[in-house]
Symmetry: D2
Amino acid sequence: MIVAMQEGADEGLIQQVIEQLVKMGFEVHRSTGARMTVLGAVGSGIDFDIRILELLPGVQEVHRISSPYKLAGRSFRPEGTIVKLANGIVIGGNEIVVMAGPCSVETREQIFSSAEAVAKAGAKVLRGGAFKPRSSPYSFQGHGEDALKLLREAGEKFKLLIISEVMEISQIPLMLPYVDILQVGARNMQNFNLLRELAKVRKPVLLKRGIAATFEELLLSAEYIMAGGNYDVILCERGIRTFETYTRNTMDISAIPIIHKLSHLPMTADPSHGTGRRDKVAPMARASVAAGADALLIEVHNDPNKAWSDGAQSLFPEQFAKLMDELRMIAPAVGRSIG
Amino acid sequence: MIVAMQEGADEGLIQQVIEQLVKMGFEVHRSTGARMTVLGAVGSGIDFDIRILELLPGVQEVHRISSPYKLAGRSFRPEGTIVKLANGIVIGGNEIVVMAGPCSVETREQIFSSAEAVAKAGAKVLRGGAFKPRSSPYSFQGHGEDALKLLREAGEKFKLLIISEVMEISQIPLMLPYVDILQVGARNMQNFNLLRELAKVRKPVLLKRGIAATFEELLLSAEYIMAGGNYDVILCERGIRTFETYTRNTMDISAIPIIHKLSHLPMTADPSHGTGRRDKVAPMARASVAAGADALLIEVHNDPNKAWSDGAQSLFPEQFAKLMDELRMIAPAVGRSIG
Amino acid sequence: MIVAMQEGADEGLIQQVIEQLVKMGFEVHRSTGARMTVLGAVGSGIDFDIRILELLPGVQEVHRISSPYKLAGRSFRPEGTIVKLANGIVIGGNEIVVMAGPCSVETREQIFSSAEAVAKAGAKVLRGGAFKPRSSPYSFQGHGEDALKLLREAGEKFKLLIISEVMEISQIPLMLPYVDILQVGARNMQNFNLLRELAKVRKPVLLKRGIAATFEELLLSAEYIMAGGNYDVILCERGIRTFETYTRNTMDISAIPIIHKLSHLPMTADPSHGTGRRDKVAPMARASVAAGADALLIEVHNDPNKAWSDGAQSLFPEQFAKLMDELRMIAPAVGRSIG
Amino acid sequence: MIVAMQEGADEGLIQQVIEQLVKMGFEVHRSTGARMTVLGAVGSGIDFDIRILELLPGVQEVHRISSPYKLAGRSFRPEGTIVKLANGIVIGGNEIVVMAGPCSVETREQIFSSAEAVAKAGAKVLRGGAFKPRSSPYSFQGHGEDALKLLREAGEKFKLLIISEVMEISQIPLMLPYVDILQVGARNMQNFNLLRELAKVRKPVLLKRGIAATFEELLLSAEYIMAGGNYDVILCERGIRTFETYTRNTMDISAIPIIHKLSHLPMTADPSHGTGRRDKVAPMARASVAAGADALLIEVHNDPNKAWSDGAQSLFPEQFAKLMDELRMIAPAVGRSIG
């Protein structure tokens, strides 16, 4: 941490800040210039509140230098993390993995038909919601375990791994037998009790960025999972909230190269939630691959106009197949491939 | 719902939209003007996705007219809700209720000393965290049930009611014997599983606005609690995330009169989290009262510089006492009083 | 400026950064700790781009310590600036000055009737637009010099000073004979050519914060005017753009105490543009006074329903009179008065 | 426009709204349902303030249906606009046009060396600032006409067209002999006096989106230029302001497909200002092409570490050449080519 004293701050004020730093467990390096004094503080733990220093008299500015996360930071594994799944599939390797399927599991026919379509077009993982976080209490809330069973069956039939969202601690044991990746939605990115429980699980967790989460907060939430022992964390950009309301969210494509710089964890993009509109999914999926995404999460429904949820942002099977062809053309420009 | 067709949309396209509306359960009123056709749709349930219509060919714009919440809306109780607590204290009445105390319960001495100070200055409710939602896994996470016991004891001694934050379903039964109001933090505003459980409780819930939540989303979350049977919901503004980073959040004072127009539920302001800086708490507390807040939630610590969490935004006891005097001068300008 | 090197950055990288700093005109203080090296850089001018250092190999973080503005900063005049106007009126003194009137000058009858109403209720300055910045080319763009003449006449009759908006360099000489304060609108806050010309004028300038301007940017724009010789700058909060669209803008009340801390310049609040809705103007005006505003800018129209622009956010004369009474009750709580 | 009355609004209130609509010049269509009345209003001009209706008693919601711009809307030219420049170069055609060069024109050597590099790599237009909008009055403000002369010379030597930024009305006649495209920066997007003057010019205008401008506002500003007679408008995304501050701006890639849907005007992307960091320019440039951009605007400097402005976001010549190769690989995926 760096504390810059105001010009003219007298020795008494400087000593007071030094004492506070020492009390907080820091080793202090003092640098006195012609006009001002700067205090460098190192060696404490990673949890402290810099605002306490900001409010001390004579202090001009305080900056923490060490990042507040350790395990999630790029320097922890400079070479990058490759998350290993079943069937030899990995996320973070050369091949870009596409995860696709409907928003919710509705019926056997719907999920099998959707699974067939996405498998045929080249997806490797089937997505589908069993528990749904809905803004309104009057909306469809998911079929629960029945949905998970259907997902697993469809996955086995079409050789697809399974990803599905977990919303609550009690759902974890229920989901483990059925899914390959546990997804944490944007609204639960800072549900710390849930994150702590997912740290104990031996399955990868895909953690979505909250709609107003900074990169630092996203990585701190990943740190919760890693600090508890689960290092297989996959991050995901799915749109942030801005002043523009034409689309539900503004998909932040720059999150992809930025997270790659700050962290060693694989980075996924979800253009379906990122835009909320079917006609914007393809351009944003292409942009994500061009920007370096390790994986994509895309909503595809066998009959979007009849979907029980999020039909408006689900691709038709033929749109998805066309998109996959476009993505295969773009991947080589970033030294990647798509299966 | 209103569907405006594009100029020149032909009869076939119009019929297709009408069919979709009927399939969704709406009764359709058609209005054909010289240049365009407008379809009014009424009578369905309150859960539907307007984006499905937006994507139909020939549709220019779709607007939902009915609000997506019912119980939380002003028209449900035009006269306003008054939440009754113990000791004859009510929130939403003529008197503005001040809830104050430290961020976390740390020690017996700390909580008793803080409680004494806030009671003396005129607060009616003691706040204090037993379970803490912390961005970092390495931060102090609260003393749990021990903290709740201390809160209750301090509350009884100084005749203060108790408010404390619940983060997880399993904490609810643990907290009920100790608290008068269950607080849901900004990060859990859309933790729908938690909201559904709180709907079954017979104690008031103070629901904080998420840092990126629209007013509609806040009211939909209140609707979750009310739809399950708990009508004693108190709302709270505690700062939203904007482009300006000088303060942690930008406290949206306008939320107070706006929520009062949209909803019958009482509206609270939390200037401590709203600003994150001790020196900005007093002006924003005064502004909240001037804008019509029904209650305030303020962090006060007997010794803020030694606080284990949020010391930087906690008032010293003497600052709080001075603030209470200022608030007493402002309240009459809005036809209110402070005890 | 402070440059923190990455842990493990070798001597070569450190020397490279030092050389760059020296080349930029800085004197460098080096502080080497057990784990990392911190470089303090002082003594250069105030214009440099810290990103150049951020991109050097081995650099972890760079923070500028000195603020990028000098004349607008609080330390330039710790006691605060009091802007003196005619008639013994000052902005930044004990008395809160209220500036009121219609959005645009429309007709002689309208401006005289509005002026009479606001003078009677206690306003000291008459506002009214002669040149209007309108988002649409098809909207009313103002009556120009004719409007200025009417403003002056009405001001003289009712003993009101005049404030009106300048949009373009060529309007400055035209306006000077008629107005007491030149207003720069939010959209022109970074019209640097205009600011440079206003620096040469010997009349006060009221500078509105842009809808997405940080406090630093607002003060840098004030610096443009002051650096050119005009120290009579009055700042104004008028709402920022956030994700919430219920109101046109989100009025940032916290800007008032924050600007008072960062700068010595007087701070005004404009609740009419800050909310865009007549029914929210009064609560936000009250909140502004409670938060410490030095002056208010409020739209009042003799017949708002017939206004040619912004009628929806203009108060009726009787609403304005009632508001002034409320403000007079609040002012003493912050040690101020209203005439 | 659509006005939805509240449930239970009585006939008197409905008549009052109808009268107001008629007074505003609308033809009114009334649709009375079982629960509520909806009024459709058509036929007025395109300039009106819907807030006046929102505030009438009994009104629940008002939505404008017709867009507030006409000439800039897609329906005005469904086939899309192709802006023709010299040398047979067009923007909006099959070929993606790359405009590149330094932030500011500094020296003859710098601009010639930069021009040579970008021409060799495939750029068709040379960018370079003669007049610079700088947040600080102490920053380099540009060389003015001398810079324009150098630009033109360099352009002629390396067969590049010229684009440069205009900040002020008086600069227009000065610039016309030297430039092929006049650029309006983000800060001037709503400098309406400037836009009106550019409407009279017979050269294309590249209009950048303001950092907090909605799509509608961007198109209304384009409308200013078109309404005055200049139809050759090129739009440009260059980053918006969000809560995330890791990069200067958040580049909104989705603006590209959205503007293509709303408007017929060509859409450009500026990844240099969109990110503010050299290491993020290439991924965002690739993403822009993948999302369908018609042109790119990229800062390239012969020696970025010595640049007088924006060196941190300028590419080295060899980085630019590599990027052009990547873009050439991506373009076919969207049916385009790069020269």
